[in-house]
Structure formats: structure tokens, C-alpha cells
Amino acid sequence: MSLRDLKDKVCIVGVGDTPQGAFPDKTGDDLAAEAFSNALADCGLKREEIDALFVQTSWGGQGDYRNVGLTLGVQPKVGGAASRQHATGCYLIQQAALLLNAGMANYAAVVYGTNQRSNRNLFAAAPSELHAAYGIFNPSWEWVFYYRRYMYLYGTDESLLGQIAVHQRKYARMNPKAVQRRPLTMEDYLSSRYVQWPLHMYDYAYITDGGHCFILTTAERAKDLKKPPIYIMGMGTNEVLPSLELYDVHLRRSIHEPSGKMAMEMGGVSHKDIDALYVMESYTPGVIAGLENYGFCREGEALSWIANGRIDIGGELPVNINGGETSETYMVGWQNTCDAVRQLRNEAQERSRQIPNAEVIMCTYMATYFEHAGCLILRR
């Protein structure tokens, strides 16, 4: 048995989401339940048919396995709650796929709900006590240091990040689900306040409440369900346990690259087979890492590579055309995989945002405090 044997064996058969924004009357678990109900309706399964449950433990202590199971009305045979920080969604989908393929369960629900905006999570944790002593806080910290080093090595300035922020906002404006839909120009970007130089406020994920859910089953069982299955062609993972020694990694490539290679090897695909890319970015420098560390372009080349509409719909590789976390919603990659599934089903609500003939889409996930990288390659 090799990982290649898992190619196309498990499918995403249902997706569900909630509106994104501020919902002070709802708990994170309520939002998870709402997304779950929508995912059930999407695939036509009944609640009691779900026999595996995977839950993202969210910032602020929500996402307790038992509480979520009870809120959803599910009695799973197997599953669990876990956190790989920003890369949890990918991690849980992979755990579910392995377990379904092994025959341990029939239908798995993978859920995440958070009210991180309404509960005023300030994301002020430090990566370690030593970092806290120097005022290094917030999950963005590694991306800030990453990009300042990148500027030094490759001579770029803040406008590269600005291009990404403006690109994502352009597509968020076409996406009714997106929370940030006001126009954003490069001038607006460059004149906006700094959070941590060189990052401006538009480089940061926009904190939102919301929920997402995926329902997975085997390719065999998927045939009987309501919507065309979206196959997991490839999946990859890599993680490095956090330690202070870690931070000399060169632009974090050694963390990200193996997860992409593993997924592409499993799926038997190369970069040219991939019709669109979703990068779990949280902060705009993540998009650079998504392109360079996952091998779409060489390191230091992102600026010239993204020019001339290459990452737009109609270009060679549409990237984050849902608006990304800076403009659509901060659902740590769940919103990306959700949009990828809908794109592959040719289901984008707004036709202008539908990628024509998208057959294969890659979703990358990159965590910070916990050095985990994940990759999913989905096909219709």
C-alpha cells in the first residue's frame, strides 16, 4: 500500500457554509451546526448516517468534540478534535479520508465554527515566552519576518503585497459571501496604516465569525448522492515541531515544499495540470510562499510571475479568486476548499467568478505557531 493507492478513493460529497461576518448571538458551535445542516442538504444524507466526526478546535476554546457532536446531533463511531492552527482543515480532511478508505466509517463530517470576531479574540498570543519578552505577538509574526527577509533577498517592496491584497479584493467584490467588498486600490493600500511594518492592515486576514463543513465518503458510496463527487486526487502533509531552532529555515520552504510534492506524487499530477490554486494565506506574504514554496514559480520570482493577469480568471493559474482571507473571510482555509469544490462543480453563484472548465484545483494550507503544511489536490 502506498499513498498513490489512495488517489480518487475518497470524495468530498457535501459542502456547507454559513454567512460570514459578526454574529454575536451565536456560538462557534452553533455556526458549526448551521454549516453542517447545509452540508447535509447539499449531499442529501441524513444526520444519523454520519458516523465519523472531525472538529477543528478553534481559537478561544470552542470546538470541543463532545459539545460539537451533541450540537450537531451526531453520534460518531470515530473521529476527534484537533488543531494544526491555520492548517487544521486540511489535516482533518486527510484524517477523515484515511479512515474512510480503511473502512472504519462510511460518512465523515468535518466541521469548523467560530465566533472569533464577536468574542473579540485579539490574537495577541506570542510564539514563545522569549518572543513575548521582545513584543513579538500575533500569528502573523513569522510572515512579517519572512517578508522583510524576502525584501532583502529579492529587492521587492511593499507593493508586491499590495498587488496581492488588491487582487484578492477585486474577486471579493464579485463574491457575495465576502465580508470586505469595498473597492481597494494600490494607492489605498500604500497609504493605509501599518500593523507590523512591512505589513499594512490590508495584508491581514479580516477576522470573522462563521462556519464551514465538508462531508466525505468513499468514491463507491459517492455515486448514490445528490451532487457530483469531487475526488481527492492527492493529499500531502509536512510538519516540524515548533522549536526556536526552527526559525533559521530559509523562507519556510523546507516546511511547505514536501507537502506539495507528496500531494502531487499521490495524484500523479504536475503543476501544469492544476487549473487553479487556493492558498490559505491569512497574511498576504503567504500567497508568495504558496506560489514559490509549492513550486509554481522559482523563489524570488513571484513579482514577475503574477504579472499580466496570470493569477486572474482566464489566466494560467487563477489564485484565491474567492477573495482570500484578507477579503473573503478568515476561516483558515476552509473557505478556500469550499470554494474549490463549488468551482469544480461549476457551481459558482456568480457566473463571472466561475473558472471555465476547472478540472483540478490545489488547496494549500500553512500554519505558523505550529509548523504544519498541508496540500489537497481535488478534481471533478
Binding site: L130, W141, Y152, L153, Q196
Partner: protein, 172 residues
């Protein structure tokens, strides 16, 4: 460094069993670093060497000199301990012994900090129990060789029209 020790309100590093000798050495302003019997530099400190698993080690002098790997200027106030300091700098320094440590740069303006700048540790007894380090540039200023020979510095940044520091990320 003239720090007002009595009301030091920033977090201090957590000192644990295996890092106690390191922090003791920082307190004497003569830093030591742990090397295992196979010569690997251990940082942070755990029971075994993270590279080879050796549990035999000795403490040897640490140069305290290094090169700025990257840095950031914090405009956002994440912790009240920095309320009078924003915008403040934070750096990651690659010490000559091959480890990376966080810190901050003192003695120069934020505008003068650059990646590749050679710096050395200076010590600050912030509480009766704990001493921390800051970094100061080596004199005269020295820089590691630059791969491109061009730089984009903090002073070249676009100047935001609203430079007010917000206490939270909200209200965009």
C-alpha cells in the same frame, strides 16, 4: 540600558530546568551556550541534544555577536508593556554560533536597522530575577555581504496618511 526596573511591565522569559544555567549566565552578563559532546549547539534547552540525542554536554562561552536575519517594526499595540514604545522594533538575529534568537535593537533609530547588520548582545537587568539581552550595532557599522547589492529600507516606506496606532485590529 536605563530601564526603570521597578515598574517593568513587559513579559519576561520563562526560565525552566534545562535553561536555568543559560539564564544564570545572562544574569552575569557573560553568556554561555550549551554544546553536546558531539559539538552541536543546543538551543532551546531540553534533556537531550536535539540533533544527536546525546545527554552529555558542557557550557561554553557565547560570543553574543550575530547578524540580523530579519526584523519588523510593530505599530500595533499587542501588550500594554509597549504602550510608550510604539512603533518599536523586534529582530531575529543569527548568532555566530549558528542559532537564531529574538531580540530588539537599541542605540539606533528604527530607520537605521537593516537585515545583514552585524550586532552584539548588551544586557539589561529588567527584574531582580531576570536579565534579558538587547542588540546593539557593532562599531563601526558592519554588514554581511548582500546578495543583490540593493536595499529597501524602513525609511523608504510609503508614509501612511493615518499613522495613528490603533489598539486593536478592528474598525478597519
Amino acid at each position: 540600558m536605563a530601564t526603570e526596573k521597578k515598574d517593568y511591565d513587559k513579559p519576561v522569559p520563562l526560565i525552566e530546568k534545562w535553561s536555568q544555567p543559560f539564564w544564570d549566565s545572562i544574569k552575569t552578563h557573560r553568556p554561555l551556550i550549551r554544546k553536546c559532546k558531539n559539538g552541536h549547539v543546543n538551543f532551546p534547552y531540553t534533556a537531550l541534544c536535539g540533533r544527536c540525542g546525546s545527554h552529555e554536554h558542557q557550557w561554553v562561552p557565547l560570543s553574543g555577536k550575530g547578524t540580523i536575519f530579519s526584523f519588523a517594526i510593530y505599530y500595533q499595540l499587542w501588550h500594554s508593556g509597549w504602550k510608550d514604545d510604539v512603533p518599536y522594533n523586534a529582530v531575529l538575529v543569527e548568532l555566530d554560533e549558528g542559532i537564531q534568537v529574538p531580540g530588539d535593537v537599541v542605540g539606533i533609530k528604527n530607520e537605521e536597522i537593516d537585515v545583514g547588520m552585524r550586532v552584539e548582545m548588551t544586557f539589561d537587568d529588567v527584574t531582580p530575577e531576570v536579565t534579558i539581552w538587547h542588540f546593539q550595532p557593532l562599531e563601526p557599522l558592519q554588514f554581511a555581504a548582500h546578495p543583490l547589492g540593493r536595499r529597501y529600507r524602513y525609511e523608504d516606506r510609503p508614509k501612511p496618511r493615518d499613522s495613528a496606532v490603533s489598539a486593536t485590529m478592528r474598525g478597519r
